[in-house]
Symmetry: C2
Subunit: 272 residues, 2 copies
């Protein structure tokens, strides 16, 4: 079945609650979800785990922990307790991949120091995550998010971090929107090999409707997503492919229609 690798990140169907999302995915024959800490915590992790089990939906990843530089545009600084709680929630719903967001550049504008803080922050979280059986996924965000959200912006830079840690505990997350422009993309994916533990896709709309929410459904933009999937697969990744879309217009649509469109387009616009 051609959508067996399809996962839907919950943000893609933002209008739905956690429960509505899980039921909706099952209704569309989708077997994976990319979950977020907030909705899972609100619904209750034990109830969430039961709901997922009952609907045969597995968790491809949990978003998110991190902000090791202390800069989080959504508010708050580095919160060690929140990061550990995210690890607990990830384990509680039977997932084993937790995405890290590095945080933006510190007020001193010293990028090197902010980047060092990311390595320190991950090193500090690894033992806790390892004991919970959760792997931390280092994700480069698009360079346009360097100031506010993530001083980690390229695959090679992320791999330099990942390679400092045991493959059992820390891996790489690849998102087409964040990495498609990189002239070193193919080489970096080959270098990554089996360190890739997460793969997300969406398209780059032209023109970009919004600095952060400009993501489109696969096939609607400028990215050759099947080519990137081919390279990710060639590197050795065989896991679920998460469709994660931040876009006000997509969020305004009926989530059932969005899922229908994603399912229909997945074999053509995502798979190699």
């Amino acid at each position: 079945m051609s959508v067996e690798r399809l996962s839907i990140n919950q943000i893609t169907v933002k209008a739905w609650s956690f429960e509505e999302t899980v039921r909706g995915l099952a209704r569309h024959g989708i077997g994976w979800i990319g979950a977020w800490v907030g909705p899972v915590e609100e619904y209750g992790p034990e109830r969430a785990a039961a709901l997922l089990r009952d609907h045969g939906v597995r968790v491809s990843s949990m978003c998110r922990a991190g902000f090791f530089t202390g800069k989080n545009p959504d508010g708050g600084g580095l919160d060690h307790d929140a990061n550990r709680r995210a690890v607990d929630l990830t384990a509680a719903i039977g997932a084993d991949v937790l995405y890290m967001v590095s945080g933006g550049v510190h007020d001193d504008l010293n990028l090197a120091r902010s980047r060092a803080a990311v390595v320190e922050g991950i090193a500090e979280l690894v033992p806790y995550a390892a004991s919970a059986g959760v792997r931390l996924a280092v994700e480069p965000l698009h360079p346009m998010m360097c100031a506010e959200r993530s001083v980690t912006v390229t695959l090679d830079q992320s791999l330099d971090i990942v390679e400092r840690f045991d493959p059992a505990h820390v891996g790489l997350a690849v998102d087409t929107y964040n990495v498609w422009w990189d002239p070193g993309l193919d080489a970096a994916l080959a270098r990554a090999g089996d360190r890739i533990i997460g793969y997300q896709v969406c398209d780059w709309l032209v023109p970009q409707p919004h600095p952060t929410f400009g993501r489109g459904l696969p096939g609607d933009g400028a990215i050759d997503i099947p080519a990137i999937t081919r390279a990710v697969d060639a590197a050795g990744f065989t896991g679920p492919i998460e469709v994660e879309i931040f876009n006000e217009k997509v969020w305004a649509r009926d989530p059932d229609d969005v899922l229908g469109a994603v399912v229909a387009g997945f074999p053509h616009h995502v798979l190699p």
Copy 2:
């Protein structure tokens, strides 16, 4: 004099005509201008050259030619005649650096092919430019412009292009806004050495008010510009430093006030 290296790109004082800009710069004791093809052509290249001479203003660079991929968001595709005319205008006003903008990704979404077209396009333009005494400046734009405006997005990628050509005819242009996020920035600038033939500065505003027009005056954003100037200088560049700002709010201000602010801030927010 601390502003002896200061150049003002004409777009920064967008409300002014070419003549008003040259007179305004002279009034503020600024000895360099970054010119644009359109206003120079409109004013007439001979008149422009005389005006510049009369006011003791030299041209740090001319914007721009290129769009070798055939994708130009401002309209039109690859226009060989326009590119050669830009070379002529550059020489006519006594300038010797013409900025190249690569163009966005082709409709086939094949980034590698689009990037190959950039190398071919520059190779085709070099003999004409060389005979006019004009050097072509390859400029990486920010990766967020990859789809629409420039498939050339990093310093190392640009250097791979630059190094194919004679240093007398092709060099590198560095703009803080486009490159500040790059984890390989310092290494790339050291690699560039005397291939750097243009240096532009502006700041990265937080939050970004607009996907293209989000640039701020030096000191108003997230970039440690003096640190980058230090690295550019250490690479061997001793030329003018162009302040180029695309920002609706800056454009709405009295250009005299903008120039006053740039001059006052230059020693603190731009120089090392």
